[in-house]
Amino acid sequence: MKFSILRMTLKVVFIIFMLLVMIGPLVGIVIWSFARVWYWPSPLPQEFTLRYWIEVFKQGRVLNSLVLSVTIALLTVAFSTLLAIPAAYGFARYRLPFERILLLLFLMPQAFPQLPVFINLASIFGRMGLRGNIWGIVLAHTMASLVFSLWIITATFKSIPVELEQVAQNLGASRFKVFWTITFPIAIPGIIAGAIYVFLWSMGEFTAAFFIGAPFIQTAPVLMYTSSMGYNLQIASVIAIILIIPSLIFMILIERFLKAEYIASLGG
């Protein structure tokens, strides 16, 4: 009996500790977003205010940048997924020459430090007239995020037994029909998982958005960065909190859609 009380206590302490680790940093941001005056070493701000929240919602700047971020993210998801589906099907079902090297090639934009990669890309885009407009950012994001959707969707297709397609073919369905009636519907959870991941990555991406979007385009992360550099930590906190919302939706969706076997067959 005593033993189980001890265990119970340990369990509760552990859970509280984990919550502190996970939620602690968020608490700081939430407090900052309401702080008017907050000097060190006081644990809480000296004065609270709603001013910054109101400011964010009144000033078009912040909301505009959020809308812009969501638009870019949605376009990126659309291009990235549409490009990845046929490519992933090829990788999953056919023996392509240099398969592994090709798969690794898509990793390149993510394999090196983001700063040099995107500064170089920005200078190339500059010559092509793609700087300072959202299509430049969408293109950069699509290129860089293709690896996520490609790898996740390839793994999804690989996890679908080829017999499921062969039965359909055996019953008279053409290859095209087999894909749309069998393979694609079964792969939808994996495709959604890939899309969510790309969406979140694009929403939070700073470097490419900053260098390619400048000076006319300010996505939410860029705005957050400039506000916090301008010592406006409160505005940055408010934006950060708003940016968390998609992540929360992501957590809920991922729990519903992403199955362990998709991840397990990654790269296999």
């Binding site: 017999e163 062969q166 073919q169 055996n170 019953l171 029909k177």
Partner: protein
């Protein structure tokens, strides 16, 4: 008239010959079982008829029409996959209806045909369930319904019973046979289980290393195996190998054999050999084989015992079942009727 004719099929994977001059025919409403150990080419044969294997050479005809170069979706053959391959995102009804939808039947016809198939296999009550809510046996029936509902020219069954447990398998064997006779579909049945093949097939083709060694009725294959491999693969056997010492006659028990090239292989159908006490007097029929030996060990099997028997003058140990009880080290004689043992020189 033969519904399916396969003529001179060849297929090799690198050095391995999966099909080596395979010729088979299936008559109307006949069930042909193809048996052989794993790697014998039986599954390759089935998949080449379905169109999933590109042949190196040879021709396949269905109802006298050459289908060798047709893609899988253009051959009217229905294949039953070993792991059932039901589509997880569709209900049982949708699974079975798929082939009919592809064939552009109207809604009413689809409903009627699917209900007929579900009824036929006694799974009507499962129509709205998803495959993951079904037991193995139920999944098997759904897969079968999906294959027969399109009225294929040939039904291809790939180890249909291998994923079921032993008790259900016995019952399903009877059902499957009755079903196939009722439907009268020409059927190719691939299995590695010789007992299953003997009990269910009209004819059996025994394959080994890509070659068809023998085709015949179960009785023919069991009673008149053409070579050592077939004799050994069918039935429960004990094999004895005897190397002739000189050019003289080889004596095995009461029989004598003229030496030929190689080693004498004696295949004994263990289920038909009788074990008797050494002293008991038996009158042998012409050609029966009598061996004398000693009991080395025994296993209790319920209704009978499995004996380990050392034959005088032969090194190898025989394993034979008998209902009678013997003691270890007891002297015994084994009587093997003349059509229950086979002699091959190899």
């Amino acid at each position: 008239m033969a519904v399916l004719q396969a003529q001179g099929l060849y297929k090799s994977y690198g050095q391995v010959k999966a099909l080596d001059d395979v010729n088979i025919e299936i008559e109307d409403s006949e069930l042909l079982a193809v048996i052989g150990p794993s790697g014998s080419g039986k599954t390759t044969l089935l998949r080449s008829i379905a169109g999933f294997v590109q042949l190196d050479s040879g021709k396949i005809f269905i109802k006298s029409k050459d289908i060798t170069d047709l893609p899988p979706e253009k051959r009217n053959v229905a294949m039953f996959f070993q792991n059932y391959a039901l589509w997880p995102h569709m209900t049982v009804f949708e699974n079975v209806a798929y082939g009919l939808k592809i064939r552009r039947y109207d809604k009413k016809a689809i409903r009627e045909k699917v209900e007929w198939a579900l009824d036929f296999l006694d799974i009507k009550s499962l129509a709205e369930r998803k495959p993951n809510q079904l037991s193995g046996g139920q999944q098997q029936r759904v897969a079968l319904a999906r294959a027969i509902v399109v009225q294929p020219d040939v039904l291809l069954l790939d180890e249909p019973l291998s994923n079921l447990d032993a008790k259900i398998r016995m019952r399903i064997r009877f059902e499957l046979k009755a079903l196939q006779k009722k439907l009268q579909i020409a059927t190719l049945y691939v299995t590695h289980d010789q007992e299953e093949a003997l009990s269910i097939a009209d004819r059996i083709a025994v394959m080994h290393n890509g070659k068809v060694l023998q085709i015949g009725t179960p009785q023919q294959v069991y009673k008149e195996p053409v070579n050592l491999f077939v004799a050994d693969f069918i039935g429960v056997n004990s094999i004895v190998r005897i190397k002739p010492l000189d050019k003289d006659i080889v004596k095995v028990g009461n029989l004598e054999f003229q030496p030929q090239q190689g080693v004498l292989h004696l295949v004994i159908r263990a289920e038909e050999a009788r074990v008797l006490p050494a002293k008991e007097h038996v009158t042998l029929k012409e050609g029966d084989l009598k061996l004398e030996g000693i009991i080395m060990g025994k296993l209790y099997l319920g209704s009978k015992h499995r004996y380990e028997i050392k034959i005088h003058g032969i090194e190898e140990i025989l394993f034979i079942n008998s209902e009678e009880a013997f003691k270890i080290n007891e002297q015994i004689q084994i009587i093997i009727p003349k059509d229950s043992f086979f002699v091959y020189w190899q």
